[in-house]
């Protein structure tokens, strides 16, 4: 599936080559922080269960 370049015109050259890279980096950063929060939450819930459930 081709990722669209919506909103970008073909007239923009150097800007266009860096904008998708920036977007990709931000997506990966957001993804990493989101998954970190989920993993930390799951670990805390696991510890809660281990500590207090006979």
């Amino acid at each position: 599936m081709t990722e669209p370049t919506t909103g970008q015109t073909t007239g923009q050259t150097t800007g266009q080559t860096t904008a998708p890279d920036d977007a990709g980096r931000r997506f990966r950063r957001t993804l990493a922080s989101v998954m970190t929060v989920q993993v930390v939450t799951l670990v805390l819930l696991w510890l809660l269960q281990r500590a207090y459930t006979p």
Binding site: T2, P4, G7, T41
Partner: protein, 536 residues
């Protein structure tokens, strides 16, 4: 309830309506009305999506679930982050780049008009019923707690939401959602703090009490098709449910279509997943702590105040005897038995099934929260209901206008005409949802009812969108596959009712894809592959 609490509730409702209506500037055309001119920042969209998820059903039903069943319900959401990632990489760029108003509009480009119309129709039916159920949750509780006719409760919740949604569209809905999220999270934290203060033992001891009853058992790694709350049903079935809900349900799709760009749309989806599991865990923990609270303070035998009033009026001696038995024997099994008898008595007296799970938290709030905080919590419950309703109403209106009115009745007209039709559709669906709400009472744990109903269609609709991404699939395959998927889910639902509804999404999606591909293989070649995204 103390007048100060009502001042807070009414004041907040007034603020929300005025704020929402003020945000209606920029909604003079339907792109502004439905998609906020694709101008919303990702964090606002993300918070708005989160707000839509955190409905009154969560505030009342999930907390009640935590009190009666414990934390394992959180497993239901384990598939959410995975689904968000998959959608962010696949469907979101597709739909946003396609410049569509609705997810179903895309299906006509890929397949044909009848597939589009059928999926849009299924969405309208399931979403409208769900909207009614979401209004009924707090409405029924409020009518029981405050002694109102249920119509007043429905109006208190429904009318403000219908007003600012009808006038302001997605712009109003999103910015109101952002404000309301802070109120809701603040109210939940306030309840937790109050509970920790009022429980006469240390937090650790309180957790030991909860853990001893199994309420802190979060993870269940057994594999069972009949047990809804296991790690695997949450991870697999939940992923399919979330893929379908966030990928194909217009109430969610419309949110990220209103983002400024594809990267912002993807980020908004991820952000909405950010706090989902932690927030659900917090909500369930509130319920668990309320359970612990009532180990140290005598709970009402009947949490539903309306039923309690009826029993006290009709069978006071019998109710008093049950209370004496409760006081004289602290053993959990004995008390469970007394409570069961009290519920049976309430059923006998009122003629209604007596289900307490949705009244535990409201009763705790009214009886035990300090003045002011109780008003904040009630306002938060109403806010949560409005968040969910407003999002659903805009999506119902969008699908009605774009997928049916514009598509089949009047394709060309000035934008002003479509704006009037859109606002009218919002109002009509709002009234419809309010009417449904008055009938959707006493349906058990409401959070389960909402998700169970959705699972009937979601998996099959997801299957259609999955087929859309497979070049070999043609329109006939998609159309007949959709029927096959719903038939399969229906067969499992009625033929094997013990199978958890979470697996229905998997069954529906897989059936649609398999049948759709088989029919496509023996039919004509598709008129086009997956629609290429059009560059602006």
């Amino acid at each position: 309830m103390h007048p100060l609490n009502w001042v807070i509730v009414v004041g907040w409702l007034a603020y929300v309506v005025v704020h929402g209506i003020r945000k209606s500037s920029g909604t003079k055309e339907i792109e502004g009305y439905f998609l906020a001119n694709r101008s919303l920042p990702w964090w606002a969209v993300g918070l708005s999506v989160m707000a839509t998820q955190l409905s009154a059903v969560t505030m009342i039903g999930t907390t009640g679930q935590g009190a009666t069943d414990g934390m394992r319900f959180v497993q239901f959401y384990f598939g959410l982050p995975i689904a968000m990632v998959i959608l962010g990489v696949t469907l979101v760029p597709f739909l946003h780049g396609a410049r569509v108003y609705t997810a179903y509009e895309y299906l006509e480009r890929r397949f044909d008009a009848r597939t589009r119309s059928l999926t849009a129709f299924l969405f309208l039916i399931s979403r409208a019923m769900s909207c009614g159920t979401i209004i009924s949750a707090p409405a029924v509780v409020f009518s029981a707690v405050f002694g109102w006719n249920v119509w007043w409760s429905v109006a208190l919740i429904g009318v403000p939401a219908i007003l600012y949604t009808m006038i302001g569209g997605v712009q109003a809905v999103t910015w109101v959602d952002v404000k309301q999220m802070f109120l809701i999270v603040g109210a939940l934290i306030a309840v937790v703090v109050t509970l920790l203060i009022k429980i006469p033992v240390s937090p650790s001891e309180a957790l030991h009490v909860a853990g001893a009853t199994g309420r802190l058992r979060v993870f269940d790694f057994s594999f069972s098709l009949t047990n809804t709350y296991t790690f695997w049903s949450g991870l697999i079935g939940g992923t399919f449910l979330m893929l379908s809900y966030f990928g194909t349900d217009q109430s969610q799709v419309q949110r990220y279509l209103s983002a400024k760009s594809v990267p912002e749309a993807r980020n908004s989806l991820l952000i909405s997943a950010y706090w989902k599991i932690p927030l659900q865990a917090l909500v369930l923990l509130v319920g668990v702590l309320v359970f612990v609270f009532y180990q140290y303070h005598k709970p009402p035998l009947l949490f539903n105040p309306a039923h309690e009033r009826a029993v006290l009026a009709a069978a006071p001696a019998e109710y008093a005897a049950l209370n004496r038995r409760w006081d004289s024997n602290a053993a959990p099994a004995a008390r469970d038995s007394v409570r069961a008898e009290a519920l049976a008595l309430a059923t006998r007296v009122t003629g209604e099934p007596s289900k307490d799970v949705n009244y535990i938290i409201p009763r705790f709030v009214i009886d035990n929260l300090p003045i002011g905080l109780a008003g904040v919590f009630i306002a938060a419950v109403i806010a949560a209901a409005m968040n969910a309703i407003s999002g659903e109403l805009t999506s119902l209106s969008t699908a009605t206008v774009i997928d049916f009115y514009k598509r089949w009745i009047r394709a060309e007209a000035p934008d002003k005409h479509f704006l009037i039709v859109s606002r009218s559709a919002t109002a009509v669906w709002g009234v419809f949802a309010c009417v449904v709400a008055t009938f959707a009472v006493n349906l058990g744990s409401l959070i389960e009812v909402v998700n169970r109903f959705g699972s009937f269609f979601y998996g099959s609709i997801l299957g259609v969108f999955l087929l859309a991404m497979i070049p070999r699939a043609n329109a006939l395959g998609a159309f007949l596959g959709l029927f096959a998927g719903m038939f399969a889910v229906g067969a499992v639902n009625f033929g094997a009712p013990s199978v958890s509804f979470l697996w229905h999404n998997v069954i529906g999606a897989v059936t649609v894809v398999v049948v759709g591909l088989l029919i496509s293989a023996i039919g004509r070649a598709p008129r086009s592959g997956p629609a290429r995204v059009v560059e602006a």
